[in-house]
Amino acid sequence: EKTRVGFAPEAYPPFWVADANGNWTGWEVEIIDAVCAEAKLDCERVPVAWEGIIPALLGGKIDMIMNSMRINDERRKVIDFSNKYYEVPTVVVAAKSATVDTTPESMDGKIIGVQVSTGQQAYAEKNFGANASEIRGYNTQDEVYQDLAAGRIDVAIDGVVAMNEFLKSASGAECCESKGVLKRDPSTLGEGYGVGLRKGDDALKAKINDAIAAIRKNGTYDAITKKYFDFDIYGGD
């Protein structure tokens, strides 16, 4: 029996990059392959729109989610998570000219863009909701960056890795810069990124946890990471 791994088919470099033939490459893609191989699972990647990905898991259309999903309390109410397989700080980015930092006061009158149903969105609403003039929700992170470059939003929030990728791109380099790292907030920003699982699917959870530990130990994880990053993305224990 196949294990269906749900992911949102959208560009999120360097974790998810599509080529024209519909092949996906990227750090997370390789980690999926490594985990599945280690756990001896016959995995199949199934594209599901991000906003429907948890319902799809609950409805049995997929068996697990590996899509840079933050492990946080809100989600824990409905689904289960494996141990984290990476963790990076979350940063605030804005136009170079903007005077913005990570404090609520600096968000006064700003339009903040976040991808919907993400930890960033939860964080922004909890901490900046009172100050920002608007928190605009996008269906994909890519669209957030588009509108940041277009100048339609003032501030974006995302994990530092994907954010750096954007800042390296032509449009990102031209317009924007990082304005600081958000403090750790497990209830929204979570405790790292993990595999989303149906509650009660403990056998699968055990397998995945073992596989993550195993590839960390046998060097596979580091080998993959080295191809994409010059630091340890696992982010400490």
């Binding site: 949102a8 088919p9 959208e10 560009a11 990059v17 599509a18 080529d19 024209a20 033939n21 519909g22 199934v46 594209p47 599901v48 729109a49 991000w50 429907g52 319902p55 409805g59 049995g60 259309k61 994909t140 890519d142 588009q146 791109s169 032509a170 449009s171």
Partner: protein, 239 residues
């Protein structure tokens, strides 16, 4: 990212291989549209017959179906049918002791859009059947045809000229509605376009190119349906 002159845009389309990826996406869109249109046609014929000659309960149930589908946005219907449809089918399969099926990809798209199309088809075909002169069907009965034979040989071909304009409209709608599947994450033309645009950052170029592809498909469809109509109405006096 730079507002590229036409030549640059075309280069973008051809070099990264995204152009051909979009063609593949178009082919998938057309396949799904064709499947949905066909399924809708079957539902439409059955629905029309049910409305015209079914019992009171059948008729009202069908009315409910067409009313709901024709007033709830496709986007919402697609989500409902996608989730509920799969639950329903798998529920039935489990009850029958069968294995669950994968309600994903093209099949889901076809079923989802087909259910939507079916409601519109029902109305189009019902109207067309009502336009067939009563005598045509009576003559079929008078020559001993069974209802099934009369349906196949007389009613359906005779209503075709009346149904075709509506049906070709539905086909165009089916084609365009496949774009909505992008919201479910399906890999058809619109979804591929979104990926291409996201990857290359040439949003304008790719959305524009996709628009041209849909437009071309529409115009070719128009041409074909005009021919089909001419053929179907060849038995009608041209005034």
């Amino acid at each position: 990212m730079i507002w590229s002159p036409a030549a640059g845009s075309i280069a973008l389309l051809t070099t990264g291989g995204w152009g051909s990826a979009m063609l593949v996406g178009l082919a998938r869109s057309l396949t799904i549209a064709l499947g949905a249109f066909g399924l809708g046609l079957l539902i439409g014929i059955a629905g029309a017959l049910g409305k015209l000659s079914g019992g009171a309960v059948t008729r009202q149930a069908l009315d409910l179906y067409t009313t709901i589908v024709r007033s709830v946005p496709e986007l919402v219907l697609i989500l409902i049918v996608y989730f509920a449809g799969a639950d329903l089918i798998n529920g039935i399969l489990t009850a029958l002791g069968q294995a669950k099926i994968d309600f994903n990809g093209a099949i889901a798209g076809i079923v989802v859009l087909g259910v939507v199309q079916g409601a519109y088809s029902t109305e189009v075909i019902r109207g067309a059947i009502l336009s067939v002169p009563r005598g045509q069907i009576e003559a079929a009965q008078a020559y001993g045809m069974s209802s099934w034979l009369a349906l196949r040989r007389i009613t359906l071909p005779a209503m075709l000229p009346f149904a075709l304009p509506g049906l070709s409209n539905l086909w165009l709608i089916a084609m365009k509605d496949t774009a909505l599947l992008a919201v479910l994450g399906f890999g058809e033309l619109t979804q591929v376009t979104r990926q291409a645009a996201g990857t290359t950052k040439a949003y304008f170029t790719f959305f524009f190119a996709a628009g041209c592809m849909y437009l071309l498909a529409t115009m070719i469809s128009n041409l074909l349906s005009r021919r089909l109509e001419a053929r179907a109405t060849r038995g009608m006096a041209h005034v």
